[in-house]
Each structure stands twice: as C-alpha cells, then as structure tokens.
Amino acid sequence: MTPTPQSTVRRPTSDLDVYSDEALLNPWPGYRELRDAGPVVFLERYGMYAATRYDAVSHVLRSPEVFPSSEGVMMNDEMNQVLRGNTLCSDGEAHSASRRVIVRPLTPKAVRLLQDDIRAQARKLVEELTGRREFDAVTDLAQYLPVTIVSNLVGLPEEGRERMLVWASEMFNCFGPPNDRTRDSFVVLGEMMEYATTQAVPGKLRPGSWAEAIHGAAARGEVPADKCPVMMIDYMGPSLDTTIFAISSAVWLFARHPDQWDLVREDPSLIPSAINEVLRMEAPIQDFSRSVAVDHEIDGVVLPAGSRVIAFYGAANRDERRYPDPDRFDVRRNPTDHLAFGAGPHTCVGMNLARLEMRALFEVLVERVTRFEIRSEQRALHNILRGFARLDVTVHV
C-alpha cells in the first residue's frame, strides 16, 4: 500500500474521556464535541475511534465486511475473547445460523402470542401502583414485566433467574474500555459464564423455554453444540436490563415534559411514536464497537485496518445533522430510524418484545396517570447502559 502524504490525511483526535463518571452521567456535550470534530474521531485516551454522527454510525453498523463483529463488539480485548462466537459477536453464515435460532421466539408472530398475557400483567401492575400513588419506577414498575415474564421465558433454573439482573448489568460493564468499572465487573462475569456452561443445560432448563431451544437447535445440527454457552449470553445479557432502563427513562422524560405526556394521554395512538422518541433520546445501550478489517475512509477520514471504532448509538440519535432540535423530546416525531436498537445485520432481535412490554405499560398508564412527579432520582453509573438505579415518583391520577 502506498502511504498517503501526511498533509492530505485528516485524523481528528480528542482527549475527551467519554467513560469518566461525569461524561457517563451527562454524555450529550461530549458527544456534540465529537460530532463537530469529525465523522470519526480518534480517542487518545483509549486508542480507539469514535463514530458519533448518525451517518457514520449507521454506515459502520451496515457494513459488516469492513466492520465485522466476530473480533468482538466490546471496548477491551479480554471481553472480546469471552463472547467469541455468540450471535452478537459473529459474522456471515455463522451469524445467520445462530441468529435464526435466537430470533425464533422473538419474531412479530411469536411475540403476538405473548401479547394478551403481557397486557393483562401490565394492567394489574399499573392498577396496583397507581392505587399506591408513590413507587420506585425502577424496581416496582420497570423491572416487573422483564423479571416476571421474560426471565421465565428464557427459562434458567431458579438461582439463575434470580441472578440474571445482576449478571446482565455487570456483563455490560465488562463491555467498557479497560477501567475500574470494567475490572470490578469481571468477577461476576466469571460466575455468569460458569453458570451458562454448567447449569444452563438440558434437564435443568425449563421445558419449552428459549434457553432449552438453543440446545434443541444444537442437537439438530443447526448450530455447533460448543456454542450453546455463549449463545445463552444472547438471552441472559440483553433481555432484561435494556428494557428496564428504557421504561425508567420513559417515566423520567414524561415527568419532565408534562406537555408531552398530555399529548399522549389525549391521543394514545401516539404511544408507539413516543416510545421511539424515548429510545432516541435515551438509548439504553449507548455504545458497542466493531473492529476495522481493511483501511476504510469515512467522509475524508481514514480508519486503518486493525483499529477499533466505537459506534455511539446514543450520540447518533442526537445528531443535529439528522434530527432537527435533537435535544427536544417530541412525542410526535416518530423517529423510526433511530439507532437505539442498532441497524444492519445485528439489529436487535428483541425489539418486538421490548416494544410490547413498553406499550403494554404505557397504554394503561395513559388511562390512569395525569402527572408523574419525581421525588428523587439516582442514575445508574455504568460504562454502557443508560438509565436509573432508582426513580421515586408520585403519580397524580
């Protein structure tokens, strides 16, 4: 390869620490700085590139030949070894084969079968909580459907079900760059992987569950049997926390924008649009990464082969080049093109279920609640996930 003369190469750099406590709690000013600095910007502190503009993030996610997932989608080498070969961290035929198995219980058709049960449970829960007036929107509201319904569908034995929330959160911390948060979480990750290997096995899993179906697929030769433990992580990781954070962020946004809540109350057909807008504003997963397989130029900046680029879904969703007035919460915007569920071949397989859970709750909340009032809030301080650890609210009915 002929070296390009230095003068024609643009390589925007930044010394911003995107994983500092401050940036994680309020990432938006940093994201804006990075978007303005270039389509992709080299993060000096981490030795990785950051894609923050909508077009750049979308391009990275939709170009798997250049930006593969099989060398991992995390921001540290150790973790990129751990999950090798699951659906999230694979490409091409191997990815299609395991995705085909993982998506089976999550297609629109499969999820339609869950609709009545989820709606009924959502109604019962919301009626109870609105009767109480004061509750924690995280533990009392947001966790309920994922923990009671989804964890049961996944089908781990009792102990595993109870640990799933902790495991998932710690696992996602391990997606971060080598920092204290990442290191501290590796202990729990070990426990989770051990469980996925020794306990999430036929005979121990709930018959008819999603986890059992992975083993069934392996027995039929649809996926290699040795991939079962890492494929368990496809369900154990993202099925609960993401949705929980999305629900708590929705309550938080509606509490702070009562005019927008009124719009949805007056016209509940806006609920799907409002949910997309919540996900755009507060992407529950802020960023994953991709390796760079070949030298590749994005809008005049060259990403060298062998480097890694972080795709900031959360930053793309606030790109003023894509969304006018991006920091404004507008329930009528209906941004179906937001990137909170990713895009391209690895687009979230759980989105139909996540949407159903959110819709079911807000369909009842709009009937009952005139105002959410926040009594106290505590954000989760997390490398990757964005949402609340606690959100104490009073509801006016």
Binding site: S96, R99, R100, V103, T107, P108, K109, A110, P272, T336, D337, H338, F341, G342, A343, G344, P345, T347, C348, V349, M351, N352, R355
Partner: protein, 106 residues
Amino acid sequence: MPKITYRVGDETTTVDATVGSSMMHDAVRNDIGGIIAECGGNAMCATCHVYVEDGPVDSLPEVGFAEDEMLDCTAAPREQNSRLSCQIPVTDALDGLTVRVADEQA
C-alpha cells in the same frame, strides 16, 4: 431515475425513485400511505409488506433469510409475490415496477 408505482387501496401513485435508497424509505419519503416500517428498515417488524404486481420482477434481489423469516409474520397473508420493501434497494433496473402495499401491516 427509475419510476416505481405503488398501489394503496384504490390509489395509484408513481414516484421517481432514488437510486441507493430502499423502496421502503422511498415510499415513506414520498408519503405513500400504508407502510409503518416500525423497525426502521432492518427486517425485524414485517410492517412494510408489499405485493409485487408487475414490471421487471426478475430484477428484484432474492429473498434473504431475515426477510423470509419476517414474511412469515406479516399481518396480511403472505403470497408468492410478498416482499418487505425495506429489503429492496432501488436500482435503475427497477424502472417500471408496480407493487401493491398490503392493507394490513400490524
């Protein structure tokens, strides 16, 4: 620019399609009704279902695995000529294509 015709209910609209876009995006941009496209064009929601009726049907790309899976989930019945419009990139070869948007999407 290739011309693509969409039929929605009793209405027929022909648009100058944009090469490089998907049929779904192009239809939405041109205010063709009846397409929801909840998942933003990622073959996950089956709400941009169309029936290919006429024109250069042989120029359409094959149905991929993700699309095939989703076509089993459409609200209106899947037919031989069912496609998800988000999985069809607009190319010059599609000039003269006519599709009917499925009545029911969700």
